[in-house]
């Protein structure tokens, strides 16, 4: 497959679809484009041999496709390859051929006054030239008519957008209208006010139905034009907060903008976005027509996620901005609104950080104070302990002195008692000695032998000691006991004193 041819064909198809305001597959399906890039047809016949390309398609796009292939391959492209000279057509084929050629006429805008209107399933109307009263018959699919947001009436001045064709059943020339726009500020203003009142009456602009823009949005849907400064403004102001932005390119001005916008909004309908941003630079009521389109407004109203509008305007606020859940006047402001919660979060984090640091400092300070207090208490406690210890030491010393004194006193008393006992006992012994001496003296004194030795004698009469004269008479025998024996005697005389 020739990648260069494939790439160029894809770009060409995108431009064509945009010009014709149709889906890509309406031009060529992906498979058809890939087959072309694979087979690289160089003539009409070769191109018609590819599935999905018939005469009508060839008439419409054939030359462009062949030109791209030849251009890529560096070969010469001759239109002779597509020449149909001398061919005879049926009426239908001929009209198809003519319509194919007419459809290659670039889509254009035509301005005129509505001279007749007829709605029979689809819209049929005529535009009259103001100057020479030329008439252009027009046709519009009901779907397109519904989408254009303009109720076509006789006398109305319109700008219509479309391509020419011949209506085969009648052979009439007709302008296939794809979009309609009001002309003139007065008409625009009236339509604007009417729609505004209508939607307001329906309650579409009520605050109560607005959804809040969520904090910390991540998935952003973005609808605006790829061209212009608006997207640059938005992108340069949207912060780096990890957004996942899904962008849908859309024309934001002109008669075809409504279709693009609706298509873009529909794309996001089932997408998991946190918020959808629709942005456009400033403009007049006329240039902002697309944002006053009823179909677009109703499409946006049906979304189940919040929408933020950033559409610049002069005097009249675009009706889409009234509907939007949040509306600001510039793309930059939209970016700032989306950034707000993130920036607040950063601010909060910084604030918390400062608070944490300050609190921690405070805690450290408190702890230090408590610590110092505890140190002082400990010091006081120690001092108290030492004081108590000193008191006890002093008391103990006193007790020791008292005990020592007591011991000394007791010793002294003991010594005294001992001395007293000794003295008493000595005295006692002395008394005993004296007593013994006295006893000895008494015994000595009473010793009869001692008396006898002194010269005394004892006189017995029989066994009795004679103590007086009465105890004897003369002639009695008596015994005289002396110190060394006895003298036997007889009484010779008795004389009394």
């Amino acid at each position: 497959m020739n990648q260069e041819v494939l790439k160029r064909l894809r770009n060409w198809r995108e431009q064509k679809a945009r010009l014709e305001n149709c889906e890509l597959y309406r031009v060529f399906q992906n498979k058809t484009i890939e087959d072309i890039a694979m087979l690289l047809p160089k003539t009409k016949n070769e191109l018609l041999a590819i599935k999905g390309i018939r005469e009508k398609k060839f008439q419409k796009y054939g030359k462009d496709v062949l030109a791209i292939i030849h251009n890529c391959l560096g070969t010469k492209f001759s239109e002779d390859n597509t020449s149909e000279e001398g061919k005879t057509y049926t009426v239908s084929d001929y009209l198809d051929n003519v319509n194919s050629k007419l459809s290659t006429i670039e889509s254009c805008k035509v301005k005129g006054e509505v001279s007749s209107v007829n709605f029979k399933g689809h819209l049929y109307f005529s535009l009259k030239d103001k100057n020479d009263e030329s008439i252009l018959r027009c046709f519009m699919w009901a779907n397109d008519y519904k989408m254009c947001g303009v109720e076509v009436k006789e006398g109305m001045e319109l700008t219509i957008h479309g391509t020419p064709e011949i209506y085969k059943p009648r052979g009439d020339f007709s302008f296939r209208t794809s979009a309609v726009e009001l002309v003139g500020e007065g008409a625009l203003k009236r339509a604007y006010e009417e729609l505004k009142n209508k939607l307001q009456t329906e309650g579409l602009f009520e605050e109560s139905r607005k959804k809040p823009i969520p904090d910390y949005p991540r998935k952003i849907g973005l609808i605006t034009s790829r061209d212009g400064a608006v997207i640059s403004d938005f992108m340069s102001n949207i912060g780096r907060f990890g957004y996942k932005i899904t962008f849908m390119d859309s024309r934001v001005e002109g008669i075809m903008a409504v279709k693009d916008l609706i298509k873009a909004v529909k794309y996001f309908q089932d997408k998991p976005v946190d918020v959808l941003a629709i942005i456009r630079g400033g403009g007049s009521l006329e240039s902002l027509q697309a944002f006053n389109n009823e179909a677009l407004i109703r499409e946006v109203a049906n979304l189940n996620f919040p929408v933020i509008c950033g559409i610049g305007h002069d005097k009249d606020v675009p009706l889409l901005s009234f509907l939007a859940d949040s509306a600001v006047s510039t793309p930059t402001a939209v970016a700032q609104t989306l950034n707000e919660s993130w920036e607040n979060a950063i601010h909060k984090v910084k604030h918390c950080e400062q608070n944490i640091v300050a609190s921690f400092d405070g805690m450290i300070m408190d702890s230090r104070n408590k610590f110092e207090k505890v140190i002082i208490q400990i010091k006081e406690f120690h001092s108290r302990i030492f004081r108590i210890f000193e008191q006890h030491e002093h008391s103990i010393k006193n007790y020791l002195v008292m005990i020592k004194n007591s011991i000394m006193h007791t010793k002294e008393r003991l010594r005294s008692i001992a001395n007293s006992i000794l003295i008493d006992y000595r005295n006692n012994l002395n008394d005993i000695n004296r007593l013994i001496d006295n006893m000895q003296k008494t015994i000595n004194m009473n010793n009869p032998e001692r008396q006898l030795k002194l010269g005394y004698s004892i006189v017995f009469s029989g066994r009795k000691i004679i103590k007086n004269t009465e105890q004897v008479k003369v002639g009695d025998n008596i015994n005289v006991k002396v110190s060394d024996g006895e003298i036997k005697s007889k009484v010779k005389n008795i004389s009394k004193n």
Binding site: M439, P448, I465
Partner: protein
């Protein structure tokens, strides 16, 4: 007689002394017997008293040593 205590010997001596004091009539033999007994008792008492005094001196000496410490 040898085993008699000092206190008993003194009592006996006192009894002998009293005996002498109470005698109205001298019984020479009895008195002599008492004298002899008393003399023995005096001798014994002195010996015993000397022993007691010696022991007393020892105790006194010991006591003085203890109280000086």
């Amino acid at each position: 007689m040898d085993k008699i205590s000092l206190s008993e010997s003194l009592k006996k001596l006192e009894a002998i002394s009293e005996w002498f004091n109470n005698q109205e009539e001298v019984d020479v033999e009895k008195g002599l017997e008492k004298v002899r007994e008393g003399a023995k008792l005096v001798k014994l008492s002195r010996v015993r008293l000397k022993e007691v005094e010696n022991e007393f001196e020892d105790v006194k000496k010991e006591l003085n040593e203890n109280t000086e410490e």
